[in-house]
C-alpha cells in the first residue's frame, strides 16, 4: 500500500466499501434474515446507495476545500495589501486630538476600497461561484442519503414532495387567473 498513489488508495477503499455493502445487501435480501416490511430491510436494501453517496461526498469535499482555501487566500492577500497601504499612509496623519479618528477613517476607506475591488473581480466571482457550487453538490448528496432513510420508513422523498408542490402551484395559478378574469368581467359589467 505504501508505494501506491492516493488515487489507487482511494479506489481500493471504494471497492472494499462497495464489496461489504453488497454483502450486507445480499444477506438482508434473504426472507428469513429480516421481516420484509420492517424498516431495516428497506434501509439495508438501499445501503449501497448511502456508501456511494459517502464516497462521492468525500471527493467533493476535496474540491470544496480547494476552493475554500483559495477563498481565504484571496481574503488574506487583500488584507495584507490593504494593511501595507495603511502603514504607508499612517505617518501622514497629524498628531493631534483627532489622530485616532483620522487613522480609523483612513483604515476603513482603504480596506473598503481594496475588498470591494476584490469582490468585484473576475477571479473572486469565479472561485466564489465554484465554492457555492461544490457546497450545493454536498447538499445534494446529503439530500440523497436522507431520501434513503425516508424511503426506509415509507415517507416521500424530496423529489416526490416537489412534484406535489409543483402540482399545487400549477392549480393555484390556474384558479387565481380564472378568479381575476371573473372579477374583471364583473367590474366591466357593473360599470356598464
Amino acid at each position: 500500500m505504501q508505494s501506491e498513489s492516493p488515487k489507487e488508495i482511494s479506489d481500493y477503499y471504494k471497492h472494499l466499501s462497495l464489496f461489504w455493502t453488497d454483502i450486507i445487501h445480499l444477506m438482508s435480501s434473504k426472507p428469513q434474515a429480516l421481516a420484509s416490511i420492517g424498516p431495516m430491510r428497506a434501509f439495508a436494501a438501499n445501503s449501497k446507495k448511502i456508501s456511494t453517496e459517502m464516497i462521492e461526498i468525500n471527493e467533493i469535499m476535496m474540491e470544496f476545500n480547494q476552493h475554500l482555501g483559495e477563498y481565504y487566500k484571496q481574503l488574506t492577500e487583500t488584507w495584507t495589501t490593504a494593511q501595507k497601504k495603511v502603514n504607508l499612509k499612517a505617518p501622514e496623519v497629524p498628531q493631534d486630538i483627532e489622530q485616532i479618528e483620522a487613522f480609523k477613517r483612513i483604515w476603513i476607506d482603504i480596506f473598503d476600497n481594496d475588498f470591494t475591488e476584490l469582490f468585484d473581480s473576475e477571479k473572486f466571482g469565479e472561485n466564489y461561484g465554484k465554492l457555492v457550487s461544490k457546497e450545493l453538490e454536498l447538499t445534494k448528496h446529503w439530500n440523497n442519503i436522507t431520501n434513503v432513510i425516508l424511503q426506509s420508513v415509507n415517507l416521500p422523498s424530496k423529489e416526490e414532495i416537489d412534484e406535489v408542490y409543483k402540482e399545487i402551484h400549477s392549480l393555484k395559478k390556474r384558479v387565481g387567473k380564472l378568479e381575476l378574469q371573473l372579477k374583471k368581467k364583473e367590474l366591466k359589467k357593473n360599470t356598464k
Binding site: 480609523k104 483604515w107 476603513i108 480596506f111 473598503d112 475588498f115 470591494t116 469582490f119 468585484d120 473581480s121 473572486f124 466571482g125 469565479e126 466564489y128 461561484g129 457555492v132 457550487s133 450545493l136 453538490e137 447538499t139 445534494k140 439530500n143 416537489d162 408542490y165 409543483k166 399545487i168 402551484h169 400549477s170 395559478k173 387565481g176 387567473k177 381575476l180 372579477k183 374583471k184 367590474l187
Partner: protein, 287 residues
C-alpha cells in the same frame, strides 16, 4: 398610488419613522397610498415565478386599488427589485397605469457595477434552485455583508456605541437594524429567472424578455414616467437603473439623480427635503 416594494427586506422601510416616512410625506401631500407586502414564501412556494408576481400578485393588487379608488388607472411606483416587477407589469398592462415611478430600478444587469452583480454573474443558479429551492435569507445576508464590509461591519457599530446615550439615535438605529435583519426567502423559480434574465443574459433592457410567452416590450411603456436614481447606490448602481429612461416609449419622461444611497433615497432627511417634494410636484401635475 400603489407601491411595489422590493423582494428583499420588508416594505415598512417606507414608513419606518414618522420623520422619515415616504408614505406619510405622500399622504400629507394629498395622495392616497397603497403598499404591497409580498409576504413570506415557504418551501411550497418554490415554483412561484415572474408570471405569478407580475400577472398574478401585482395585477390582483392593481385591480384592488382601481376598485377601491374608483379609477380606471393608477399611479404605480416600483422600488429596487420591485421596480423590475413593476416595469414588466407596466409594459404588459399599460392600460392600468396612469403614471409610473421607477425608484432605483434593477434594469440593466450587464452595466451594473456592484458586487452583487459580480456574484450573480458567476452563480450556477439552476443547480442552486434545483437543490435548495427558495433562496434563503442567510445567503442574501452574505451577499450584503460584502458591500462596504468595513463601513457597515465596524464603523456603523462604533457610531452606535458612541451615541448609546442618545435616545433618538438609538431608536433610529434599532428600527433600521431590525429592518435589515428581516428579509424573506425569494421563491426559487423567480430567483432563477431573475439571475438569468436580468443579470446573466440581460434580456429586459434588450427587449428580449418574455413572461409566460408574453413579450415585455419597454417601448409599450408610454405613460408619464419618473425615474429616481441615487448616485451613491452600492446595491443598484446608477448605470443599472438609468437605461430605463432611454429605453421606454414614453415622451413625458423625467430622470432625477440624488446625492445619496439606496436606502437614503427613500428613508432619510434628503428624501423628505428633496426627493419627495420633487416627486409630489411631478405627480400633482399629472394627477
Amino acid at each position: 398610488m400603489l407601491i411595489s416594494y422590493a423582494l428583499i427586506n420588508r416594505f415598512h422601510i417606507l414608513d419606518i419613522h414618522p420623520e422619515k416616512s415616504w408614505v406619510r410625506n405622500l399622504l400629507e401631500q394629498g395622495f392616497d397610498v397603497y403598499m404591497l407586502d409580498w409576504g413570506t414564501p415557504t418551501s411550497m412556494d418554490k415554483y412561484l415565478d415572474f408570471d405569478d408576481y407580475v400577472n398574478g400578485y401585482l395585477d390582483t393588487y392593481v385591480e384592488y386599488v382601481k376598485n377601491e379608488s374608483s379609477n380606471d388607472k393608477i399611479t404605480l411606483q416600483g422600488y429596487c427589485t420591485g421596480a423590475t416587477i413593476a416595469t414588466a407589469y407596466t409594459s404588459l398592462h399599460p392600460e392600468s397605469v396612469k403614471n409610473y415611478i421607477a425608484t432605483a430600478p434593477v434594469i440593466d444587469g450587464w452595466r451594473d457595477t456592484t458586487v452583487i452583480s459580480n456574484l450573480a454573474k458567476h452563480m450556477d443558479v439552476d443547480k442552486m434552485v434545483q437543490i435548495i429551492g427558495n433562496m434563503p435569507p442567510e445567503f442574501m445576508y452574505y451577499c450584503f455583508s460584502v458591500l462596504k464590509p468595513f463601513e457597515q461591519g465596524i464603523e456603523k457599530y462604533v457610531n452606535f456605541f458612541k451615541n448609546i446615550d442618545n435616545k433618538r439615535f438609538v431608536d433610529n438605529f434599532l428600527r433600521v437594524e431590525k429592518w435589515l435583519g428581516d428579509t424573506p426567502p425569494i421563491p426559487g423559480e423567480l430567483f432563477r429567472q431573475w439571475i438569468k434574465d436580468i443579470y446573466q443574459d440581460n434580456l429586459l433592457i434588450q427587449n428580449k424578455m418574455y413572461i409566460e410567452g408574453e413579450h415585455v416590450d419597454l417601448k409599450k411603456i408610454d405613460m408619464p414616467i419618473f425615474t429616481q436614481v441615487a448616485v451613491g447606490d452600492h446595491l443598484v448602481s446608477p448605470e443599472c437603473s438609468m437605461p430605463l429612461h432611454y429605453a421606454i416609449g414614453s415622451e413625458d419622461k423625467t430622470l432625477r439623480m440624488y446625492p445619496t444611497g439606496h436606502v437614503g433615497m427613500i428613508a432619510s432627511g434628503l428624501s423628505q427635503k428633496k426627493v419627495l417634494p420633487e416627486l409630489g410636484e411631478w405627480l400633482a401635475e399629472r394627477s
